[in-house]
């Protein structure tokens, strides 16, 4: 599998995502100004502060040339994972439902959180049993997931809520404890916590690796 990780001015966790993706295949960085996705099998929109998070997290990055290609790639069924700022960019770009608002605690917050895998039958979580708790760090200032009630109901019904915070760990105030959602086709997934920072026991947990392993399984399954 070859993964492409976007690099915007202000991206911070793109190299971390690259290191994580390299554990399951090849991984290259894709410059925001280029439209060529270099034939990757999957795209990661990484964490950080693209364009300083000025105005609104993700608001400016979603207009970059590379995002035009990513939108097309996603429409064609390509796997797209948005992590933290990447999740915000994907929501701003309309590839995922909802929006991420400033944390309810009004502060950038770093915390190791436990995520419940709500949907294990997705291209991003197939390596996890449903109900499993993944210990993964979260770190952000705008991670409060919001969508209107009708949308939330519909997301839950259609299995689009993929991961949730344990209720006592939902520091950002996300509605219905939502930590990550996918699109209706299931090929685009965004979450606020950082699976790429949970791929090595030395620096934390290895629970995040499952996300990358699931993506590899999805890509390789599709190839056979």
């Amino acid at each position: 599998m070859k993964t492409g990780i976007l690099r915007f001015p202000g991206s911070c966790d793109e190299v971390d995502a690259q290191l994580a993706a390299q554990l399951v295949g090849e991984a290259v960085l894709l410059w925001h100004g280029d439209r060529d996705l270099q034939d990757v099998d999957a795209v990661i929109v990484p964490g950080g502060f693209s364009y300083g998070d000025y105005l609104r997290a993700g608001a400016i990055a979603r207009f970059s040339p590379v995002m035009e290609s990513v939108i097309e790639f996603a429409r064609d069924g390509g796997l797209v994972l948005g992590i933290c700022n990447g999740f915000q960019v994907l929501c701003e770009a309309g590839l995922l439902p909802g929006a991420l608002l400033p944390n309810a605690n009004r502060r950038f917050t770093f915390r190791q959180v436990e995520l419940e895998v709500v949907e294990a039958d997705t291209a991003f979580t197939s390596a996890c049993p449903a109900g499993e708790l993944l210990s993964i760090p979260a770190k952000h200032g705008s991670g409060r997931y919001y969508a209107d009630e009708a949308t939330l109901d519909q997301l839950e019904e259609s299995g689009q809520v993929v991961v949730r915070y344990r209720p006592d760990q939902n520091f950002n105030g996300s509605l219905r404890e939502i930590a990550g959602v996918r699109n209706t086709d299931g090929n685009v997934f965004g979450l606020m916590p950082h699976p790429e920072h949970a791929v090595d026991a030395l620096t934390g947990s290895t629970d995040g690796l499952r996300i990358f392993e699931s993506m590899r399984a999805a890509v390789e399954g599709a190839h056979v």
């Binding site: 971390d16 300083g52 502060r107 770093f110 790429e196």
Partner: protein, 730 residues
């Protein structure tokens, strides 16, 4: 511009003395004009010229086997093996933070990061060292704390450099002068190491990064030709606003330029802006530089030449490049959306010549600007009267041992810093093996399986009680922190935060502290590779506590053996290691009890402490012990609490009942460590060093028996106390 030359009164308003002004006139051969006076006044300021500290700094040990770059460049650097260097430095942003804590702290982080990438290293970590007034009593101090922490987080998080450690103390002596020091570390290939000396007559001087505005032109606005009326006030903002997004691009752009070998010399623009960076580049390279201020990209079009030269706008760099590389350099800047402009040329004149288009608006010998500022001798004198008031009493001296432990664990200087550090991203860059509260030092993995460890420390109260012994304690504590994770010090940086050095008692504090740093760093073989000095931190109520802040970087061969402070397993043996003779002098307990500072502290045996550090270091490296934690504020009882809370594992401990139980439990001193491990391992360790087995890990309470007395506290109660700072951040 105004034709009228500034006069002596302007020089005085800019902080020069009459004698210094006369010396400037002599060096210039005539009274300086507006631009010249502005530049002299900055370069001859305490901040740039180290007028009152230079002689002391010369006494510091700066050489050692690992040192690749000592003091004198933007940051120091040590060799960490495999062709890599670690650059590091600590710097203060005290005054700006007292005025506007969010921006002051944020730009402090921005400034220290530029120093790191200016020498060709990629910033890999930030640490902060903070001092505020009594937060229990002072609304202002709570405000400063909250905003300074937010500012540090804002900058470090947004730029993608992890903040991996730090320290904060609250003491009334900092009420009017808070301290905000930030330290940064960087990693880079040794052959990419960059110096700031300008070279190559005919080479191009290029500025890149943010545009130049009126930021930080505080004092110098007295030079404005127009009378400053109320209406003009907002034309002269002094608050510098940080833009981490701009700096992120600046950093990536700089590192790419260095990697491509396009840069001859590089320097950040920090305090004193273009003036200091250009003059220092010229001075170090023994050349001259011509600058045309009209070529500098401006944020406000109507800036005068002197304003452009002294502006402290953030996120700017100055480099010297070969004329043939100008297009290539500018193309890289464009790629990163960083603006750039060729503004001058390296000359062989040894003059700084400032032009405004074709007009020469300032001409000064580089040597006069940079080297000829008078250096002053200190007049140290130990004060005959106590300098500091006794703190308010917060704990009844007749409180029980258990209540006293709870009070200590919940006191602002000891309680958990989690509400602060969880506003910082400690893990970006995927290198952080130990983050705050996991170990005494932060641990950062290196590519070859080894690791760096870093710690920052500075207990001002103990230094106030005894500048020499107190400072020894600070340096030793830093090294002890490194030992606890298994690291050996490679080098040290320091920030000397003191009051007015022209006062004999402050001069005494300063000289004693520097003497201690020199002695301790020599003994530890941890030479000083850089640092910073922040003087005049005082107001009508007196000086701050003398606060030498020490940052130390060490190396351990095997990252997988990095030590931790929390207990590990039920049933393990707990031992007290080291030549530990606790005393309540200047301790946290005596502070809570409202006792005044003593005059002097017990003597520290540096060699004995160093010896036990080596034993602990090796025991951690070998995996002989499972945890190690040095005893610091609050004594052994607090250290045990921290080991227990970090692991959510209780302990039952018996301490020697001879002597004063208060001293045994809460006394402080250098050289004590709590280690835990299997009984056989502890027995093995006892063959290497003085050690007392004091108890076992287990249960959900902390029980400490001492003589006839017992402390018995549920971990949950200790934890509640330990979280007391959370209330400030609701």
């Amino acid at each position: 511009m105004s034709e009228q030359l500034p006069a002596l009164k302007d020089a005085l308003a800019l902080g020069l003395t009459e004698a210094e002004y006369e010396l400037v006139c002599e060096k210039q051969g005539s009274p300086p004009n507006q631009v010249e006076l502005a530049m002299y006044s900055l370069l001859w300021s305490e901040h740039c010229a180290y007028k009152h500290s230079k002689k002391l700094l010369m006494t510091l040990p700066t050489e050692g086997p690992a040192v690749v770059m000592g003091p004198g460049e933007n940051a120091g650097a040590v060799d960490v093996g495999d062709g890599l260097i670690c650059a590091f430095k600590v710097e203060s942003h005290n005054h700006p933070s007292a005025v506007e804590p969010f921006q002051g702290a944020a730009t402090g982080v921005g400034g220290i990061l530029r120093d790191i990438f200016a020498i060709g290293a990629r910033p890999i970590a930030v640490l902060d060292s903070l001092r505020f007034g009594d937060i229990e009593a002072s609304e202002r101090s709570r405000y400063l704390l909250e905003h300074a922490v937010a500012g540090i987080g804002h900058y470090g998080n947004s730029i993608g450099v992890p903040t991996v450690g730090g320290e904060v103390y609250f003491e009334a002596a900092y009420e009017k002068n808070c301290l905000v020091n930030a330290m940064a570390l960087g990693l880079g290939p040794r052959e990419q190491l960059m110096r700031s000396a300008a070279a190559g007559v005919g080479n191009v001087v290029l500025i890149y990064g943010a545009s130049t505005g009126r930021d930080g032109i505080g004092g110098a606005s007295v030079l404005a030709s127009a009378e400053l009326g109320d209406a003009d006030d907002d034309k002269r903002p002094t608050v510098q606003v940080g833009d981490p997004f701009e700096e992120k691009k600046l950093m990536e752009c700089s590192l790419e330029l260095l990697e491509l070998g396009l840069i001859v010399s590089l320097q950040d623009l920090g305090a004193a802006g273009l003036t200091s960076s250009a003059c220092e580049m010229a001075s170090k390279g023994e050349v001259g530089i011509d600058i045309d201020v009209r070529k500098v990209p401006l944020r406000e079009a109507d800036m005068e030449p002197f304003e452009i030269m002294v502006s402290e706008s953030q996120e700017r760099m100055l480099c010297v490049i070969e004329p043939k590389d100008v297009d290539a350099v500018r193309a890289i800047c464009d790629k990163w959306e960083v603006s750039s402009a060729a503004i001058g040329e390296v000359t062989d004149t040894r003059l700084m010549r400032i032009y405004s288009d074709a007009e020469l608006v300032g001409e000064m010998p580089v040597e006069a600007l940079v080297d000829d500022c008078p250096i002053y001798d200190l007049q140290p004198q130990k004060p005959s009267e106590p300098l500091y008031d006794a703190p308010p009493q917060r704990l009844d001296p007749s409180a029980s041992l258990s209540d006293s432990l709870l009070a200590l664990v919940g006191s602002p200087n000891i309680s958990s810093r989690r509400p602060l550090f969880e506003q910082y991203d400690p893990i970006v860059q995927s290198r952080t093996v130990r983050r705050p509260e996991q170990a005494d030092a932060a641990v950062l993995a290196l590519p070859n399986g080894s690791a760096l460890a870093v710690s920052i420390d500075g207990n001002g109260r103990r230094v106030a009680a005894d500048p020499y012994q107190g400072t020894l304690g600070v340096v030793l504590e830093c090294a002890s922190n490194l030992a606890c994770v298994g690291a050996q010090p490679l080098g040290t940086t320091n920030n000397l935060n003191f009051g007015n050095p022209e006062k004999p008692h402050v001069a005494w504090q300063l000289s004693e502290a520097v003497r201690a740093i020199a002695d301790a760093c020599t003994a530890l073989e941890a030479p000083i590779v850089g640092g910073n000095v922040s003087l005049y931190n005082e107001g009508a109520s007196g000086p701050i506590f003398p606060t030498p802040v020490i940052g130390m970087v060490g190396l351990m061969p095997d990252v997988s053996r990095a030590g931790r402070l929390g207990f590990v397993e039920e049933g393990e043996t707990i031992a007290l290691v080291g030549p530990f003779s606790p005393s309540l002098d200047a301790s946290e307990l005596s502070k809570l009890r409202g006792e005044p500072l003593p005059d002097g502290l017990p003597e520290v045996d540096i060699e004995a402490v160093r010896a036990v550090q080596l034993v602990v270091r090796d025991a951690v490296r070998e995996g002989l012990v499972d945890s190690a934690h040095d005893i610091a504020e609050g004594g052994i009882a607090v250290a045990l609490t921290e080991c227990a809370l970090a692991a959510s594992l209780g302990a039952a401990v018996t301490l020697d009942g001879q002597g004063d139980v208060w001293q045994a439990l809460f006394g402080e001193a250098s050289g004590g460590f709590i280690v835990c491990g299997h009984a056989t391992a502890i027995a093995q360790l006892s063959e290497r060093t003085e050690l007392i087995v004091i108890g076992k890990v287990g249960g959900d309470e902390l029980r400490i028996e001492v003589g006839d007395e017992v402390i018995e506290l549920a971990l949950s109660d200790l934890r509640t106390s330990h979280r007391s700072l959370e209330a400030l951040f609701q």
